[in-house]
């Protein structure tokens, strides 16, 4: 899923400064699961913003709504009745959600309340960690199901750098060395010899480097 975390209240206050009636929109999918922008967080943030504004001797009116997904028109359209008299929309969706709202309501100001952090796994309650970099050309078959592009800090494809110590990455003792994980997995599934092969230079044109990506399925289009 997509993970995100809330910007600091201070930053959000600055972002919404000057707007007096805000539509605060939550998203019921990924950011609800990672406790960043679901219905509950919408309620908390809206009241925090109102209180903060009050302490500055001013008023802020908020309308709170949470839709199932900010990345699909059928749900975004449910906001139509609520946007009319608001002077800005504060989205608590991921970066895709913010843009979904902006695209659907072209004359409205749409502002972000979250920082989107990537595609991740819920490792345990309260801990999410990136697993996929979306390079557009999956290589997981070569590395035992552990992605060196996403999990090695240098995206190395031919083995660990000289900074791998006790299974940890040189940049942070909290981060596992992606290559130690690849090595252990390949050993466990008896495929270490695969790691002897030199991986040729990657074609990054399928990644973001090749420009904004899209998938066009003619067979599904109306």
């Amino acid at each position: 899923m997509i993970i995100a975390e809330q910007k600091t209240l201070e930053e959000i206050k600055q972002i919404v400064a000057g707007y007096n009636k805000l539509l605060v929109v939550g998203c019921g999918t990924c950011v609800t699961v990672c406790f960043a922008g679901g219905e509950k967080e919408v309620g908390i943030l809206a009241s925090e913003l109102r209180m903060a504004r009050q302490m500055d001797g001013q008023q802020l009116e908020t309308v709170e709504r949470t839709i199932q997904r900010q990345c699909e028109w059928e749900f975004v359209d449910q906001l139509k009745d609520a946007i009319e008299d608001c002077d800005a929309i504060l989205s608590m969706g991921c970066g895709v959600g913010v843009q979904g709202l902006a695209e659907r309501f072209p004359t409205k100001v749409v502002l972000p309340a979250l920082n989107t952090k990537g595609m991740a796994l819920t490792v345990q309650e309260g801990l999410w960690a990136e697993r996929c970099a979306g390079c557009g050309n999956c290589v997981l078959d070569k590395f035992g199901g552990v992605c060196p592009i996403a999990r090695c800090s240098k995206s190395l494809q031919n083995g660990p750098c000289g900074g791998s110590v006790n299974g940890k990455c040189e940049i942070d003792p909290e981060i596992d060395c992606g290559w130690q994980l690849v090595y252990d997995r390949m050993k466990a599934i008896n495929m270490l010899d695969k790691l002897y092969e030199v991986q040729e230079i990657k074609d990054w044109s399928t990644a973001r480097d090749g420009g904004p990506r899209r998938i066009n399925r003619e067979d599904l289009r109306l």
């Binding site: 800090s153 240098k154 995206s155 190395l156 494809q157 031919n158 083995g159 660990p160 750098c161 000289g162 900074g163 791998s164 110590v165 006790n166 299974g167 040189e170 940049i171 942070d172 060395c177 130690q180 090595y183 252990d184 790691l195 002897y196 030199v198 991986q199 040729e200 230079i201 990657k202 990054w204």
Partner: protein, 320 residues
């Protein structure tokens, strides 16, 4: 001869090679390079010019290498994968060759997290293994990475790094073997302080026959103080300094002299390991220690190899 650099000639002739590190300054001051070059001249066969080591902005390795060339030194340009994509790397390789550089050491590079610009974007378009292969293909296939032909190809003696002290240990000789397969001609290792572990590493390397396909130069270097020894032992990932050495450095009355003594002892030991083709001295910001170390290790004078033919002269310098 693949590139005809002095380092390649010395190694090909079967001499025990000595390379030394020359760190460019964190400024535009050419004098620093001139001074360090004069210190190292005659005391080594080639000088490694570091490429923004520890991700600190320093003078370009190619520019500093060109200054070293003016002193008659044979520069080994270090090139990391951190800051440049394949377009820039190949462009810089063409430029370095045109300026007279004949050796390149291909490295992953320290992550920018360690440096003075931790907010920089990290590139890693290519990894060190792929860089080695790219430099080899430019030389031997006369092709750019994209497959297009190069009219005048850059002919480099290709270096790789090896770290026997990082994990997983079992993969380290394999990784060096991969670098040979990718096209590396010589390897310089991380600083060796745990000689026992390096001996183990070399044993596996010999069993795999890797030492017959690549010149291996273990890294050695004098430690300046007890505090430095402790710091190296505890804070540098992938560097192993045994406690015995830390204690010796801390107890020493003259730590600098002790650091040089330890370095000489290590040189003595690694020289005896079969498959070791030379040493790489990393006297970080202490280049002045190098002449003393080389002399006391009995490695002077450095061999002078007659250059019979000069096929590597860049075309720009040839008379029209």
């Amino acid at each position: 001869m693949k590139a005809g650099s002095n380092l390649e000639r010395v190694l090909e002739a079967g001499h025990f090679a000595v390379t030394a590190e020359l760190g460019p300054p964190k400024s535009a001051d050419a004098k620093v390079i001139h001074d360090k070059a004069e210190t190292l001249k005659g005391n080594c066969d080639a000088v490694n010019i570091t490429d923004n080591q520890t991700a600190m902005v320093r003078m370009s390795s190619i520019a500093a290498g060109t200054i070293a060339l003016q002193h008659g030194l044979d520069p080994v340009i270090q090139m990391t994968c951190r800051d440049r994509n394949r377009i820039c790397m190949q462009s810089d390789l063409l430029g370095a060759y045109a300026l007279g550089v004949r050796n390149v050491l291909c490295l992953s590079g320290d992550h920018q997290r360690f440096g003075n610009h931790p907010q920089a974007k990290n590139v890693y378009d290519v990894d060190s293994m792929q860089l080695i292969r790219m430099v080899k293909n430019m030389r031997d296939e006369k092709k750019f990475q994209c497959g297009e032909a190069i009219k005048v190809e850059p002919r480099f003696f290709i270096g790789a790094a090896a770290n026997p002290f990082a994990d997983p240990f079992e993969f380290r000789p394999i990784r060096l073997g991969k670098k040979v397969a990718a096209g590396a001609d010589f390897a310089q290792t991380q600083l060796v302080y745990n000689v026992e572990k390096f001996i183990n590493f070399m044993e596996i390397v010999r069993k795999m026959g890797i030492h017959e396909k690549i010149y291996i130069l273990p890294g050695v270097g004098p430690i300046k103080s007890g505090k430095a020894a402790e710091m190296m032992a505890t804070t540098v990932p992938g560097l192993e300094v045994p406690d015995e050495i830390v204690q010796r450095m801390k107890k020493a009355e003259d730590p600098k002299a002790e650091g040089i003594s330890i370095c000489l002892e290590i040189i003595d030991r690694v020289r005896q390991i079969p498959g070791v083709a030379g040493i790489h001295i990393m006297a970080i910001e202490w280049e002045k220690a190098v002449p003393d170390i080389v002399q006391r290790a009995g490695l002077l004078p450095r061999p002078v190899i007659e250059v019979v033919e000069e096929p590597q002269e860049p075309p720009a310098q040839k008379p029209a």
